[in-house]
Amino acid sequence: MAAALIPAPDPRLPHLLRLPPARGAASLLEEVRQALGEQETVGPLRGELILLAGDWRLPLPELRAVQALLEPLGLALSRVCSELPETRVAAAALGLIAEAPAQATAASAGEGEPGLRVHRGTLRSGEHLQGEGSLLLLGDLNPGARISAVGDILVWGRLRGVAHAGCQGDEAARIVALQLRPLQLRIADAVARGPQERPAPGLAEQARLVDGVIRIDPAEPVCPPLERPMRLRTSLGLNLPRRPGLP
């Protein structure tokens, strides 16, 4: 299998560049050149491009080289999807959106609403975890780190950074953590600063949107339903205080 450039079906959507499995493939630049070469016969492409890097180890210079190859064709690398954390770190360093594969395939394939994604390990300052469905973080979210999900955010650990649940407008999304000490919480379009005082020890808490304001309560002893239909708001920004203090 060689590298393939998959043009977007719709001009609003990004193009995809899929690399073959790293084992047995030619060098990175050869693969990319070949894929782009095939495209020249079809006609010029423009717009955003997602690199599906698979198991390729791509340090910063290699990613830059790929960008340099894409630029003359009017293609802007916007997102890198890789199985390897090193590649994701390098992509993030270039200011690109970096993500793990499960997420991108679900998004690009459009298989309806993706379910729960589990991330193991602590998110440290500067890291940003995004999910197309709900996210379960097994570890802490440290100050300076961000987590955002289209659905719910569940943190099996201490939430001390910034969390954004329902980031595409789902007002029923909730944020649950074993210890909720966030810098900032966001649910749909509502934003709230974290409470000043420390939470009572040994009490899992959840944040929900109640009448347009984010409220923190002890967590409900039920798991949020994953297959919940998305409740998108119809009118934007009405009655939503931008920065309400927490109760």
């Binding site: 770190v89 300052s125 300076g144 001390r160």
Partner: protein
Amino acid sequence: MTSATARTILICSGKGGVGKTTLTANLGIALARLGHPVAVLDADFGLRNLDLLLGLENRIVYTAQEVLSESCRLEQALVRHKQEPNLSLLPAGNPRMLEWLTPEDMQKIVAQLAERFDYVLIDAPAGVEQGFRNAAAAAREAIVVTNPEVSAVRDADRVIGLLHSMEISPVQLVLNRVRPQMMANQEMLSVDEITEMLALPLLGLVLEDQQVIVSTNRGEPLTLGDVASPAAKGYRNIARRLDGENVPLLDPSKERRGLRARLLNKLRQTTGLF
């Protein structure tokens, strides 16, 4: 990458001015005094000053730059410490090296050092950019230095994330410039708060100590003499723990010095006696 026996340890912090270079110098001396051949490598090419702290500035003839370009042998570039012959310094080259130095170059230098020494300590530059990445590429282990300050802890957290992604292990923590009195009054982040956040094994605490400044200016690391300075004790304990010895950690809450101890310390600083 390196020989099986030598331990190649990166000393880094993210934030500048928290005490990376001071720790490298003191730890180098302390490990050397435990009988190990130790090399310290200044990987801070932009703002080098490990040579200053060790008092070896005027003995530098060749640097890592000449070793890499093979215009001298490694032995010629190594500067042996005057009082502690177990310790050698490989000085940083000129700042323009930053433009062409690659992680492979650093690995090459460190591999050469690892053949000759038990410990190779790499003093990383501040920041998380290419200089830091070059230095980290050559190390197997890391020590992250931080101060009990929010900004230093935040930067340390970022660095730890990067070290994990580079598969450097173990990563251990040194908490520098601890003021027991301020911790007791809850004016400073506590040891527990910091270790809980960074989730790293604590290799040691170093107490705030004015003698560090004096020793830095003199180019004589505190661990060189037998002064009863609290910081020197902290550095020596870190060296012993790194060497596998089980030394109990200092409890800052028991270090709230009484009036007498403080007066004695004041006297020691002003007179330079005992």
